[in-house]
């Protein structure tokens, strides 16, 4: 079972990202589960969502406590929430930031993760450029497909079309593709 925990803030599409990942996994014939952990539902409040992907049916309903991958939609959360809780020493970390890793002041966490398990992508900047709004979720999903090999970019693109339509879908696909290519090139 591959377990993902997505951390972000209200308004960043954290829950939608988890749902799209589960739809993409379903499209590939896998079993998947996306469960949101709502706080008081307001813009800017920390939000967590959980995704499980497996070849077999998933019965667990507990939160994801030992993630294989963390997606951090807002790097200011590093110093507000214990985002690294339960992340294994060979886990993956995908961060939305336009800055360099040293500036994030998470050296301790980085030190225990293997090389090539930590990626950054300027997801908010990509979203603002192509969508005109700061929703980094689809960029991060595109980046996820480049780093993990768990899901294909095409499945995420299908899931984007499942959730959005028209120009919004098209721009989100552009964002996901751009982030995927950026991570692949890194």
């Amino acid at each position: 079972m591959f377990q993902i925990r997505i951390h972000g803030r209200g308004g960043q599409g954290v829950v939608t990202a988890a749902e799209m990942l589960s739809i993409a996994a379903f499209d590939e014939g896998k079993h998947a589960q996306a469960i949101p952990s709502f706080g008081s539902e307001r813009m800017g409040a920390p939000v967590v969502a959980y995704v499980r992907i497996d070849d077999d049916p998933i019965e667990l309903t507990e939160p994801v406590l030992r993630p294989d991958l963390l997606i951090i939609q807002d790097p200011t959360l590093f110093h507000a929430v214990d985002v690294f809780s339960g992340l294994s020493d060979d886990g993956f970390l995908l961060i939305n930031t336009a800055r360099g890793l040293p500036e994030l002041r998470i050296d301790e966490a980085l030190a225990r993760l293997p090389e090539h398990h930590v990626y950054t992508v300027a997801a908010t900047e990509l979203a603002v450029r192509h969508l005109g709004r700061a929703t980094p979720n689809t960029a991060l999903l595109g980046a996820f497909t480049a780093l993990s090999g768990i899901l294909q970019l095409d499945s995420v693109i299908k899931a984007i079309h499942d959730k959005f339509s028209g120009d919004v879908a098209k721009s989100n696909v552009t964002v996901a593709r751009a982030a995927h290519d950026a991570v692949q090139a890194a």
Partner: protein, 420 residues
């Protein structure tokens, strides 16, 4: 059709396939997505000639449901938490009049303190309202049991609540094979009401009944609900024959018959319990699981059969009878004819507290060695409770405990962060 879909959307589609004629609902978290989904489908003309009534409150919703069901229309609503409390008088009226309304309860805690998250306080508050109450473990069951609920309600002429854990199920995206219209039509016949308000043939529904007959009317309510003990499994068998899925029924045993310790619970925690129990069995513990699917009527006989060889029973429930203990545990104790078996009451998951494999394992490792106090409050932060009790003792005007406990926990978290 097999879909990756939100639990609420799956329920909305399953209810739509049951061809409801009237839906009246008022939105409340976490039920909202269900009625929004249905409202959308009705507006797009996808639910036959169904009317969706936007009402001013939950009391209005259930009152409309009573009226429409009394005229012979297949009727549906959904609610949660305080919404259930607000409609409560009408909830009793619906069952008292024998109206086959189906209502989803997106199970949520009841305030105060206000809490939007999952436990069973709401449907338990309506435990004695004479509705049938069916609990579901996952979203496949949620979709399937709604189809069976309409069949059951109309066959028994009784209202049915389908209880699904809020957020954990209502907001979860999982794989669901949503019951298809053509197959639902084969399972669910057209509604033939046992009583209809008709100006041409006047009757009184909800007549005043004095001491001379009230006991007999109440007895019949009890008797009628017990008859559902036969209908529920029969419908589940028919459903499985048509849809190929084991959904519904009175209860589901996971190796309960042969094990020394049996955990009894309901709802979505069954999935996590299954996984913990599999680990414990691998480690040599004799432990089984029983999922109550029909909470009202309570399947006494089946429960006794399943627990006939148990040495101890551990009841895990997301509700609390303050001043007493577990509610489901009390039912299990009352139902068991073998009084020698200890029944432990474990209360957990209140107000959305995560129930994890780890904390369940810790509790069950004690449980199988008869080391649980009575009742046992699962995953309780004992230090916080002690500090608050001390404060209440020492301070002249201590103020609200809810606020001071929040402050205490926030302080502890800040300390933990600065020491990291």
């Amino acid at each position: 059709m097999l879909q990756q879909i939100e639990g609420s959307a799956a329920v909305a589609q399953a209810v739509a396939a049951c061809r409801p004629e009237v839906i009246a609902a008022y939105p409340i978290t976490p039920q909202t997505h269900i009625v929004e989904g249905l409202g959308d489908m009705v507006k797009r003309g996808l639910v036959g000639n169904c009317q969706f009534l936007n009402v001013e409150s939950e009391f209005g919703a259930m009152s409309v449901c009573i009226g429409s069901s009394a005229t012979g229309a297949r009727t549906y609503t959904a609610t949660s938490s305080q919404g259930m409390l607000f409609m409560m008088e009408a909830v009793y009226n619906a069952s008292g009049m024998g109206l086959p309304i189906v209502m989803t309860v997106g199970n949520r805690a009841i305030g105060t303190p206000i809490n939007i998250w999952n436990d069973w306080s709401d449907s338990m508050a309506a435990r004695d309202a004479a509705w049938i109450q069916l609990f579901v473990e996952d979203n496949q069951q949620a979709a399937d049991v709604h189809v069976q609920a309409f069949r059951l309600a109309e066959a028994a002429s009784l209202p049915v609540m389908v209880c699904m854990d809020g957020f954990i199920l209502t907001h979860a995206y999982t794989r669901v094979d949503v019951p298809e219209q053509a197959v639902v039509d084969r399972f669910l016949p057209a509604f033939e009401p046992r009583q209809v308000l008709d100006p041409a043939a006047p009757i009184t529904m909800g007549a005043m009944v004095g001491p001379e007959a009230f006991a007999e009317v109440r007895f019949l309510a009890h008797y009628k609900q017990l008859e559902a003990l036969d209908l529920i499994p029969r419908h589940a068998v028919e459903f499985e024959a048509l849809f190929g899925r084991d959904s519904g029924g009175l209860l589901k045993s996971f190796d309960a018959e042969e094990k020394s310790t049996v955990v009894v619970s309901m709802g979505s925690v069954i999935g996590t319990l299954k996984s913990v129990l599999a680990d414990m069995r691998q480690d040599g513990t004799s432990i089984g699981l029983l999922s109550i699917r029909s909470y009202r009527p309570f399947p006494k006989q089946k429960l006794n059969d399943a627990l006939a060889n148990a040495k101890r029973v551990i009841v895990f429930e997301k509700c609390l009878a303050v001043g007493m203990g577990g509610i489901l545990a009390a039912d299990v104790r009352m139902a068991l004819t073998n009084l020698a078996v200890p029944v432990y009451s474990v209360i957990g998951g209140l107000g959305g507290r995560p129930i994890t494999q780890e904390n369940l394992r810790r509790m069950l490792d004690k449980g199988v060695h008869d080391q649980l106090e009575e009742p046992h409050f699962h995953d309780l932060n004992v230090e916080v409770v002690h500090r608050e009790l001390e404060r209440l003792r020492d301070i002249q005007r201590p103020g609200p405990s809810a606020e001071s406990i929040l402050r205490d926990i926030a302080g502890a978290e800040a300390n933990a962060r600065s020491s990291r």
